[in-house]
Every structure is written in structure tokens, then in C-alpha cells.
Amino acid sequence: MSHSSGPDSLIKMANQIGSFFDSFTDRELARSEVAKHLSRFWDPRMRRAIMAYDTEHKDHNALMPIVREALSTMPAPPPNN
């Protein structure tokens, strides 16, 4: 899913999630909470889209560092049927 409005709304949503957990002083906990949240609440096509964006924009990336760190720990989502 490329997402109708481009990746912008997914980036915004991911960064909102990142902002909540970013205030956790335990960085490892924050990272795992972001990954857990994305895995538990985002349909695989949304996860694929945000991961694709992150991969394709290694240098100029609008995602918060905590989100990028979380994405790097997440397995590739299964394909939608």
C-alpha cells in the first residue's frame, strides 16, 4: 500500500507514536514499545509501506530516530492476501 496521500500520513502517525514513547528514559524499552505498537495495531500493508519508505530514504528521512530504530528491529510483515 503506497497510501493515498503518499507516505506523509503514515510518517506522521509513526512519529506521533514515537513522540509518546520517546519520553521514556529507558531507550531500549521505548524502542521495543514503538515496535510493539506498530506490530500490534498496524495492518501489514501499512507496516510494509512505512518500512519501504524508511529503506528508500536512508539519508533524507522524516521519521524520528526512535521510530527508525524500532523499524530496524521489526520483521518484514507478511504479504496481504
Binding site: S4, S5, F20, W42, D43
Partner: protein, 954 residues
């Protein structure tokens, strides 16, 4: 033969640890101390004659009919005002008492028209009954003296028929004051009084105004309390006394009032709030008691319809053809775009059983998890926030718990409009002396109304709830107002330490956040101190908390406050989400979210999923599905092309209407099941008739987790209850469902959901209602949660960093629009607009502060254009002092108002709950409807023509 009245004990029940024993007519009776002699006598079925007493209001002692004799005491005390006491010997019937009572009745009847045979109260009149009981045979004074019933005389007053639901006939009034006291004590509005003195006295709405022009809110408590036909439902005047009574549950707000539907055959005569109702105890609001005529409105959809395109007229078809067509279209879409390309929505207005069956249809027959409910757009942050912190996605208390609260903290809810029956209970407690904190941008009625005044009102800038609750936590922790022992025993200490360090930072102090919040920091300090130290502290919140980009953060912040102050796990305290619709709690419980199976178990939970797979004989997808806003995005993206929508009106209720319209237009198969051609149905390809709550069996679960029965009063107008339609669709898709009654669905829910294992229709018949968890550990339910331990084990604190919304005001959009509800209408208004409630609120208006209005040359009643980044609409302006400068407000009850044309796609970070409460706008004076309104009216007219001209398929 009219229905027997429920037993009236004359005075309210009293609670006491002490009991007293007395003798009444030679019969010994033991009652709680404080109980009246009248009530004690009724308990042994020795009823004492009465007129001014009824057990919903305090004793008044004015009618002098309930006099008794007490051995050793002089005179004839009124049994309603005399408390029972140890050793009393009471006689309720003696020759002297009979003589006095007959004399009293003689005086009453001398000023009462003798038209019993044609009186609407005939067969259900307490005055008539008492006349019979005392054996009055003649009136010595005659009927020709000064009176209130002879037309043309000084005292005669015309009937007041201004209210669409009841009539006031002053000639029938016996000035018992029951209506006045019901308005005060039960409803808390104080709209009625007794005007005049002595024989001139008469009931007066406000200052002798017509009911419709008075402060009356049409709750009907006065009508219910009236012992004669002075105040009587128009349903009784029109249809006569009812012959059947069916107890069911209201289909409006999340209070979930229990009602007795009084009917004859399939003709409903009136709805009476059930005295034994656990949520409402015999009270109601205008919607529940009166606004049910939509059920037989001519707009009801009575036959299934199909069409290829939304630009085609509808074709009327048989149920079988409509179901087969819908199933074949869903199969076609899945064959073309994939199994995950379709999904379903079930309204939080539907029953638990309907919600359960829809999510089962999606998971088992569609083969994916693309199921959601309109709780998404109201209380999904509650589900997330409370699950994370306390461990259960639900409120912690009963409504009655508020009567043991010492301080009530209301944030982002307006109970007197949104949850009126609970609002009345809350006001009763406040009048008894509980302290009150209100956090709301508007000066809602609770801030100041008759005998109610908030101790602290924080008129925050919309979007800053998280700053307020975080700053309150700062005060509580830095001033040492927290309950350390409770925290140490009950909460997760690692999370507590992290949170404590976080909230104690200077950047989270009221002073640091005051500029963002827009209030004096001292107000926040006062609120925090009051909440933490005044005794039992209870938090009540609503959509003003959840419908923000930080909705979940605010819910978490609220839970943090309750845990830090030890205000969880007993009566009088707790975290209380006031749910929007009747079954928001239930729809969430039933697994209507794309990530959760019934009972809040994640789809990735192998153990839970295996149970459902075994019971349903199907393999389930372990990945979460699409939420409603995600469905719209996916539709526009071309990967979500079919939708089954039961009872929900996403076009009117979801934000950014034009975005929703575009998403629906992009879909190839939209199946809408509804009682009316709602706005979403105008974009549908298949229209399946739905059934109202009066036409089906099932259960609703209210905001206090109370599961209450919905009972069928009349046959479904189109032949089927809604779960039956879903079942037919499942079968047509090749997935077998074979329920024969809603009770069998509940039995399946109970067999698969640990918190419901003790729930059955049989138990609900026995207990009336039950609060979950209801299982072997709590066979009669759980009124208060988290008593000894939190459901998640240890309560978890979480940091609540305030992050300002992206929806910012600027020179182009300098005002903040916030949206809400009004008492007489309900959500999208599909039901309430099709009742006389529209006489109370015929259009949505824009409330604007006088300063903002003046700066724009806007006067009360002007048409104004409201423009946001998402769109524009036009409404009539109401200049209102209760608004704060810089903030405007509207409701979304009417489809052409277009309130959601201007709301944006911003949403809560955790749940995608839309940010309805903050939209940056500009308001200007205009002379014509917006472009969207003109376009939508044209589209809507065309769709209504398609419906009106639907032809039977040949």
C-alpha cells in the same frame, strides 16, 4: 384492563448499618434506621393511603392522607415523615383515621372535575384510587364553589399543550408538589415551582411560562411523578392505558437506562423508566423516554434494494436476491483485489450479539481482520489507555458510586447534555456537598447552574488536556500529595519511578505549561490539591478527552492520577469513561476492533486464536486488520474495495467528509444495513433494512460494564433482526451460521470470553442486568473493578509528554472549532431527528464568543461560513458568553450542517481516533450555503429520488 403500577413504597429506601424493629397493625417489621413508617408498612403489604408521597422523592408531608396512630404519642403523625423506631406500635387503620382521610379526600374532590370516565388517567389515577380506598361517597361542599375546573372562572387555566410529548392540565392539579420535587430532586433542573398561595396555588414552569418556553428539559420526571392526569403523556391521551409491559434497554447514550415499554398489541403507548434499572433507578431523559417514534417513521427502509452504481436508481428485490447479490459482489471483489480487500463495520448502537456476529463474519467468512466499530471515533483511546495502565479496557465503577464521592473531577465531558440521567445523579451528589472540578473550554452547565457550582473550573485551550493532567500530577508528586503506600503495594515500581521523575520536572509544572493551557497556574494547583486530598476522588471523562491527537495520552494521564492518589479499587473513586453510544463498551468487548478478538485478546495471541479457530472451525489471520481511517486510505489507494456497514453512518459522523465520500466512491461494493437511508447509504450498492431496538432481542453493555437485556416489543418491520441478516450473508458466502435466537449467540460469547462465562439471557432475566466480569469468581458480576489488585497485576504508570497538536491556529485560521452534542439530539440524528425532538433543536448552530463575533461583524442569527484546512460549511451563528474568546463550537446532528466537512484527518497517535475537538478555522459572515452544502444537497436529493422511485425488479 390497565397495567398494575409497580409497588410504590412512598418514601425512598434508606441505607443504614442500624436496624429498628416496630409493630405495624400487630405485625412486627425490622427496617434500616431512617426508614419511614409509610415504607415499613408497605414492606409488610399494609399500604397506607397517600397522595403527595412517592418513593422516588423525599417525603413532604402535605396531603395529610397518610396519617397514622402511634401508641403513646399524641395526634395523628404523617407516616411519610415519621421515621420507624424501636418498639413503636403503629395502627394504620382506625375509625378516626378513616374519618380524617375521608375529610381530606372530600376537600380534594371538591376542586377536581368529575370527568373520570373521559379522563386520560382513567384506570391509572392515584386520586381515583384514594377516593375509592377511603370510601368517599359524597362531597358535602358541592362542586359549585370556587374551583379550578370551570371554564371561564377566575381560577381556570387553559391546558398547556406546548410540549410535544406531554400535556399540562392545571384543572386536574391537587398541588401535591410531586412534580416540583421530582424536577428538583430527581432531575436537578429546578424548572418547576408552585405559583400563588393557598387555594390559588398551581404548578408553574419557570415563571408561569408554557413548558416549551421554560427551563424544562422534558425528562418527564414530573409526568411520572404526577398522581393525576395533570401532567400526562400524549401517548396515553391518544391511545389510552397500555395492556402489556416489556422491560428493555434504551438505545441512545452510554448510560443504558432500563425502560418498561408499555404497549397494547404492537402499539407502543409510552416508555416508563424502570425503577429497578441498575443504571437509572427509574429516571430518564427526553430521548429515552420520549424520542422513540422514529421506529415507525415513514422513512424506514422496509425492503432490500440493489444497484450496480450509485448513479443508478434502486431496484427492490427479495431478501434472498439481495443477500446473494451482496455475497457474489464481495466474492468478486476478493477474487479481483485479494482476500484483504473487503471489511466490515458494526455500529456501537448495535447489540452485543450483532457486534459479535459481524466480527465473526469478517474474521471467519471474509477471512481477514478488517472489522471496526464507531467506538474507533469516540472511545478507542479509552480502550488503549486503560488497558495499558490498569489492565482492562473499561470504566472501574458503577454509576451509583458517585454518591460516595467526595470530589468529582469532570474533564472533557458534559454529562447534563451527553449523559443526562447520570448527570442528574452527579448533580444530586454535588448538591449534597461533594466538591467539583471541571476542566472544559466551555462554561458547561455543571460550572454554574441552579444549586451547582464548580469549586474549580479550568477553561483550558482545546487540545491541552495532557498538559493539564500532567501538571496536576506534577503538583501531586512535588507537594507530596500522593499515596505512597498504595503505589508501593499496588503498582509497578519501575514505571512509577520513571513517571515520578518525569512529572516532577520543572517543565511539567503548572507555571511552565500555563501559557499553553491558557489559564492561571494557580487553578491547576488548586484542582490537584482538591482531587488528591478531599477524600474519595472520582474522575469522569468523555470525548473531550479522547478525540484529540493525544487522546490516549490523556486517558493514560487520568489513570496515572487515579493510581498516584490511591483513587482506584473501591466505591466513590475510580476512572469513569462516559461512553458515547449505548453499546460502545459492548462493541469493544465483542471484538469489533481489527486487532482484538472478543474479550480484548490480541489476534496474535495464539492461545486465544486457537480457541476461536476450534469453535468456529476456521483458520484465523494473526495480523491486525485495517481501522476505519486506514480503510478510507486503502480504498483511495485501491487495496480496499468492499465494505459491509451495519448501523453506522460514516459519511456524517467521521471527520473530513469529502475524504470519506471519495473513499466510498472508490469502492466497488458497499453494503449498508440500516433502518433509514442514512448518508452512507447514499453511496451504497446494496441496502439491507435494519431493525430498531424495539424489534429485536439482544443485550447492550453500558459505560459501567452493565450488560442489560434488549427485548423484542414488535416484529421487525422488514422481517429480520439484524443478526439474522448478517447470518444470511455469512451463509451465502459459504460460512455456516445457524443461530435461532440471540440468546444462542450470547451462549457462544460466554463460552469463549473469560469475563463473560457467567452471562446468559436466563441470568439477565433473573438479575435484571449484570456487570462484567461475570464468571465463576463473580457469578453475579463485578460492580467495582481492581479492588485488591489491578487486572494487569501491577498498575503501570506511563509518561505523558504534552505534544501540541499539528492543528495550529494562524492568521488564516485564527479560531479553534470544537464539536459536541446537545441534549435533545443524538449523534448523527438519524433517530432523534425523526421525532418531535427536532422541535427542541432543529438545526446545528455555531456558538461564538461576543468578542470574536463583534470583530467579524457577526450578529446573533447571521449565516456564517466556517473554513478550515479541510473544507467549508455554513451555519447560523449564536453569540454565546459561555464560549471562551478564540473558540467556536458546533454540533453534528444534521447532515447538511457539514460539521465534519471542516474537521480534519488528524488523529490520536495510538488508535487513530479523530481529533474532532480541535480544528483551526476562520468564521466570516456569508449569504449563501457553502459549495459543499449546495453540491451535497443536490446529490442527496438525487439519492432520495432514487429511493422514492425504487422499482421492483422483474
Amino acid at each position: 384492563m390497565s397495567l398494575p403500577r409497580p409497588t410504590d413504597y412512598g418514601t425512598p429506601a434508606k441505607e443504614s448499618d442500624k436496624y429498628v424493629t416496630l409493630e405495624i397493625d400487630g405485625v412486627e417489621v425490622t427496617v434500616p434506621a431512617g426508614t419511614s413508617i409509610m415504607r415499613a408498612a408497605q414492606m409488610i403489604e399494609h399500604p397506607i393511603p397517600k397522595l403527595c408521597a412517592t418513593d422516588s422523592i423525599d417525603a413532604f408531608g402535605s396531603c395529610r392522607l397518610c396519617l397514622v396512630e402511634i401508641e403513646g404519642r399524641r395526634g395523628y403523625p404523617a407516616s411519610c415523615t415519621t421515621p420507624a423506631d424501636n418498639g413503636l406500635k403503629v395502627k394504620t387503620q382506625t375509625p378516626k383515621l378513616a374519618e380524617i382521610r375521608k375529610g381530606v379526600m372530600e376537600l380534594y374532590i371538591s376542586d377536581h372535575p368529575l370527568d373520570c370516565l373521559t379522563c386520560p388517567a382513567n384506570g391509572n389515577c392515584e386520586l381515583q384510587d384514594m377516593t375509592g380506598v377511603v370510601g368517599l361517597r359524597d362531597v358535602r361542599y358541592g362542586m359549585n364553589g370556587a374551583n379550578h375546573f370551570t371554564e371561564g372562572t377566575d381560577l381556570f387555566m387553559e391546558k398547556d399543550t406546548s410540549n410535544p410529548y406531554f400535556t399540562y392540565d392545571p384543572s386536574k392539579c391537587i398541588v401535591c408538589n410531586r412534580c416540583v420535587r421530582a424536577c428538583e430532586e430527581t432531575q436537578g433542573t429546578f424548572a418547576l415551582t408552585i405559583d400563588g398561595r393557598g387555594f390559588d396555588s398551581r404548578v408553574s414552569p419557570s415563571q408561569m411560562e408554557a413548558f416549551m418556553g421554560s427551563e424544562c428539559v422534558s425528562c418527564g420526571a414530573c409526568v411520572q411523578a404526577c398522581p393525576t392526569s395533570t401532567l400526562i403523556e400524549n401517548g396515553i391521551i391518544e391511545h389510552g392505558q397500555a395492556e402489556q409491559r416489556t422491560t428493555t434497554t434504551c438505545a441512545y447514550c452510554g448510560v443504558g437506562c432500563s425502560f418498561d415499554v408499555e404497549s397494547k398489541g404492537e402499539q407502543i403507548v409510552r416508555l416508563m423508566p424502570n425503577k429497578d434499572g441498575g443504571a437509572n433507578h427509574g429516571h430518564s431523559c427526553i430521548k429515552g423516554r420520549f424520542a422513540w417514534s422514529y421506529a415507525t417513521h415513514p422513512d424506514r427502509i422496509k425492503t432490500p434494494k440493489i444497484r450496480k452504481s450509485i448513479d443508478d436508481p434502486w431496484q427492490e428485490v427479495s431478501w434472498d436476491e439481495a443477500i446473494q447479490y451482496a455475497a457474489s459482489e464481495f466474492k468478486r471483489v476478493q477474487a479481483k483485489y485479494g482476500r484483504d480487500s473487503i471489511g466490515g463495520l458494526v455500529s456501537s448502537r448495535c447489540t452485543n450479539e450483532e457486534g459479535y456476529v459481524v466480527q465473526k463474519l469478517v474474521r471467519a467468512a471474509f477471512g481477514n481482520n478488517n472489522v471496526d466499530t464507531c467506538a474507533r471515533v469516540c472511545h478507542s483511546p479509552t480502550g488503549y489507555g486503560l488497558k495499558q495502565t490498569l489492565g482492562e479496557s473499561a470504566g472501574t465503577q458503577t454509576f451509583d458510586s458517585v454518591m460516595k464521592s467526595d470530589v468529582i473531577f469532570v474533564i472533557g465531558c458534559n454529562p447534563t447534555d451527553g449523559h443526562p440521567v447520570f448527570g442528574s445523579l452527579m448533580k444530586k451528589r454535588i448538591r449534597q456537598g461533594a466538591k467539583l472540578i471541571v476542566v472544559d473550554p466551555r462554561a458547561i452547565d455543571l460550572v454554574k447552574s441552579t444549586h451547582i457550582k464548580a469549586d474549580v473550573h479550568i477553561p483550558l485551550r482545546p487540545g491541552t488536556n495532557v498538559a493539564v493532567v500532567t501538571a496536576m500530577a506534577h503538583v501531586i508528586m512535588t507537594e507530596g500529595l500522593h499515596k505512597e503506600q498504595f503505589i508501593q503495594e499496588r503498582c509497578d515500581i519501575d514505571s512509577y519511578n520513571m513517571w515520578k521523575e518525569f512529572v516532577s520536572r520543572e517543565e511539567n509544572s503548572p507555571e511552565a505549561l500555563a501559557a499553553e493551557i491558557g489559564v492561571d497556574p494557580q487553578l491547576i494547583r488548586e484542582a490537584a490539591r482538591l482531587y488528591a486530598t478531599a477524600g474519595n476522588g472520582a474522575i469522569y471523562y468523555g470525548l473531550g478527552v479522547t478525540e484529540h491527537s493525544q487522546g490516549s495520552t490523556a486517558v493514560i494521564g487520568i489513570a496515572n492520577l487515579a493510581m498516584a492518589t490511591g483513587n482506584v479499587g473501591r466505591e466513590g473513586v475510580g476512572v469513569n469513561p462516559l461512553r458515547g453510544q449505548n453499546n460502545v463498551q459492548g462493541s469493544c468487548d465483542m471484538g469489533s476492533f481489527p486487532h482484538e478478538l472478543p474479550g480484548y485478546r490480541h489476534v496474535s495471541d495464539t492461545t486465544a486464536r486457537s480457541q476461536f479457530e476450534a469453535a468456529w472451525n476456521v483458520q484465523l489471520n494473526p495480523e491486525p486488520g485495517l481501522r476505519i481511517p486506514n480503510m478510507f486510505e486503502a480504498a483511495l489507494d485501491g487495496s480496499f474495495m468492499g465494505l459491509y456497514c451495519e448501523g453506522e453512518d460514516i459519511v456524517q459522523s467521521d471527520p473530513n467528509t469529502q475524504h470519506v465520500e471519495a473513499a466510498l466512491r472508490a469502492m466497488e461494493c458497499v453494503v449498508v444495513q440500516d433502518i433509514f437511508l442514512n448518508e452512507t447509504a447514499k453511496f451504497a450498492h446494496v441496502l439491507l433494512p435494519g431493525a430498531t431496538f424495539l424489534e429485536k432481542s439482544g443485550t447492550f453493555t453500558n459505560a459501567e460494564r452493565r450488560i442489560s437485556p434488549v427485548r423484542r416489543v414488535m416484529a421487525p418491520i422488514a422481517g429480520y433482526e439484524d443478526w439474522e441478516v448478517t447470518q444470511m450473508l455469512a451463509n451465502a458466502l459459504g460460512y455456516p451460521m445457524n443461530y435461532t435466537h440471540a440468546s444462542e449467540i450470547m451462549d457462544e460469547i460466554a463460552s469463549l470470553t473469560p469475563t463473560f462465562t457467567g452471562v446468559s439471557f436466563e441470568k439477565l432475566d433473573k438479575l435484571g442486568s449484570v456487570q462484567w466480569p461475570c464468571n465463576d469468581q463473580a457469578p453475579e458480576g463485578t460492580p467495582t473493578m481492581h479492588i485488591d489488585t489491578f487486572v494487569r497485576g501491577k498498575g503501570r504508570f506511563m509518561n505523558t509528554l504534552y505534544v501540541p497538536t499539528d492543528e495550529k491556529v494562524n492568521a488564516r485560521f485564527p479560531l479553534i472549532l470544537t464539536t459536541g452534542r446537545i441534549l435533545s439530539q443524538y449523534n448523527v440524528g438519524a433517530q432523534s431527528r425523526r421525532t418531535p425532538n427536532s422541535e427542541f433543536h432543529s438545526e446545528d448552530v455555531l456558538e461564538i464568543h461576543p468578542t470574536d463575533a463583534e470583530a467579524r461583524g457577526i450578529k446573533d442569527g447571521d449565516w456564517v461560513g466556517i473554513t478550515s484546512r479541510a473544507g467549508e460549511t455554513v451555519l447560523r451563528a449564536v453569540v454565546a458568553e459561555r464560549m471562551q474568546a478564540g473558540v467556536v463550537y458546533t454540533t453534528f446532528h444534521h447532515p447538511f450542517s457539514g460539521a465534519n466537512v471542516i474537521t480534519t484527518d488528524n488523529s490520536d497517535w495510538a488508535t487513530n481516533c479523530p481529533e474532532y475537538k480541535v480544528t483551526a478555522v476562520e468564521v466570516t459572515k456569508v449569504s449563501q450555503p457553502s459549495e459543499w452544502q449546495q453540491r451535497y444537497r443536490e446529490f442527496s436529493r438525487k439519492q432520495e429520488d432514487f429511493l422514492a422511485n425504487a422499482v421492483a425488479k422483474v
